[in-house]
Subunit: 332 residues, 2 copies
Amino acid sequence: MTPNPHADAVPLVEIHRGPFLESLHHGHAVICDASGAITEAWGDPEAVILPRSSIKMIQALPLLTSGAGAELDSRRLALVCASHQGAAIHTDLANDWLASMGLGEADLRCGPQWPDDRDAQAELITSGEKPCQVHNNCSGKHCGFLMLNQHLGGDAEYVRPDHPVQRAVLAAYEEVTGETSPGYGIDGCSAPNFAASLKGVARAMAWFASAGQRSDTMSRAATRLVAAMHQHPDLVAGEGRACTELMRAMDGVVIKTGADGVFTAILPQQGLGVALKIADGATRASEAMMAQLLIRLGVLAADHPAALRRVNHVIQSRRGIEAGLIKTVEGV
Amino acid sequence: MTPNPHADAVPLVEIHRGPFLESLHHGHAVICDASGAITEAWGDPEAVILPRSSIKMIQALPLLTSGAGAELDSRRLALVCASHQGAAIHTDLANDWLASMGLGEADLRCGPQWPDDRDAQAELITSGEKPCQVHNNCSGKHCGFLMLNQHLGGDAEYVRPDHPVQRAVLAAYEEVTGETSPGYGIDGCSAPNFAASLKGVARAMAWFASAGQRSDTMSRAATRLVAAMHQHPDLVAGEGRACTELMRAMDGVVIKTGADGVFTAILPQQGLGVALKIADGATRASEAMMAQLLIRLGVLAADHPAALRRVNHVIQSRRGIEAGLIKTVEGV
């Protein structure tokens, strides 16, 4: 077992209710510039994390650098980088893509998942159907894996850690984080999720942020992916979700959430990359901290409704009575 | 603003994924005996918490000690102490009770809430209806408030902190915790939720655990409430929920979850009370820690499926691949 990566986590997000500090979230956050240098950090930049879905744009790189996805439009590229909520706009896109490859739902290896989208839930319930693998929030990423796999000629079990698809992902991951990954965990979608230091993930995001200034194959792939995510915030997550709402509230900034309290950001105009991990894994805290960092970096208005749903957020009772506040600690 | 009650929280619950410690939950836990003495503690027993729904059996005491609820059967008493998931067994019971008082849904002040029960969700979706206040997980508690209010003759706004109903709740709360409450927060159901030290809450649970040995009015009320919760674990929460599953797995032990990482337990045979608070508010951690403490106290089998869904729990991918483990830290 690895040592405790959260020993040096610091208080980041406070949950207040009435006059009481009800709950407190610790974590780590790192901001890197295009040179890979840390410009600001909270907690331990060396903390080793599983970045989960926050690095889907990295997992998508081999799809483009291999040439397999050369003809993909921006909608499919956005879906490759998505943790979507299984709404029709997401599942229709995934189904069309599978069909265009001569494949179907059964070729996916991500497993079935109930969609978070209320309309999609209602449709399943009223039709008496069960959710399928296309509803899985990672189905776009897996469509990308399947397309890459057709190009590489690997066997059907493309989520196996030693499969050519995942070897290609690891090579790209190690290149952009600048680290040798110390290992992997199996993600909720059954694909390996490679570990890195938080600093390494932030460095990778800064590399994405500055990709437009470079002309190598990998940087051009990164530029296409960032543009696609920016162009289709609704495909990257869905209505009401932090990634979608906050990207719409900003100009050109791309952000991506990951399970268990991870969040990343790519700021092309500033050439900055951000990565944060809430030590306890809470999404409410990763969203609050990311929103505050985006405000701090001058790319998100503190009074934008999408920001106020995440940080300096007034908690209400179910009758709308003001009950508490979610905020970051002083100084962030 | 009050000082940080979580400064001395200690690591309690670990989330492992592959070889990595992915996330870590800190918190506090206290076990008290019938004399009110602490027998074991982790973290800071003096930590001031908002106990949320974990003390609904305390909020129910005035309903019985006043005589208002003298004729209530055990099913309604269990519902008063419940955080239910809005299944038909819960909402039918609440609706019947409201009707028997000559009242209706509009008299509740808990606010509407989407039920967690999948069948209830399906029914609302297929009928095109919205959830109402009866679906609120606290609607049983509020039925009890309404019945007490009819007895006390207070005005309709029974959730006001200075309303006779809430004054009666506070008096009972301070008596059984042995503390003067330092204040309150507004709960999700709009009722005031009075603060106490974790030690005070554990002491109150030990008082409930030993109530059967005493014959005063308040202890007799406590005995009825504990018996009702024990008799109807399905009404206290619902199918699949920790309180329901774990109470069914034990003999006579009553447990109750609360929002933002609180959990309490009443062990009548041992005369012990337990209270715990996860500092970051995570339910997955409060459930794991409570299950482990119940195993430690010899009332829950470590290999019972209901236990293994909470602690030493194998995290699986959506295709059923073993991905990680939820466990408590060594020594708990």
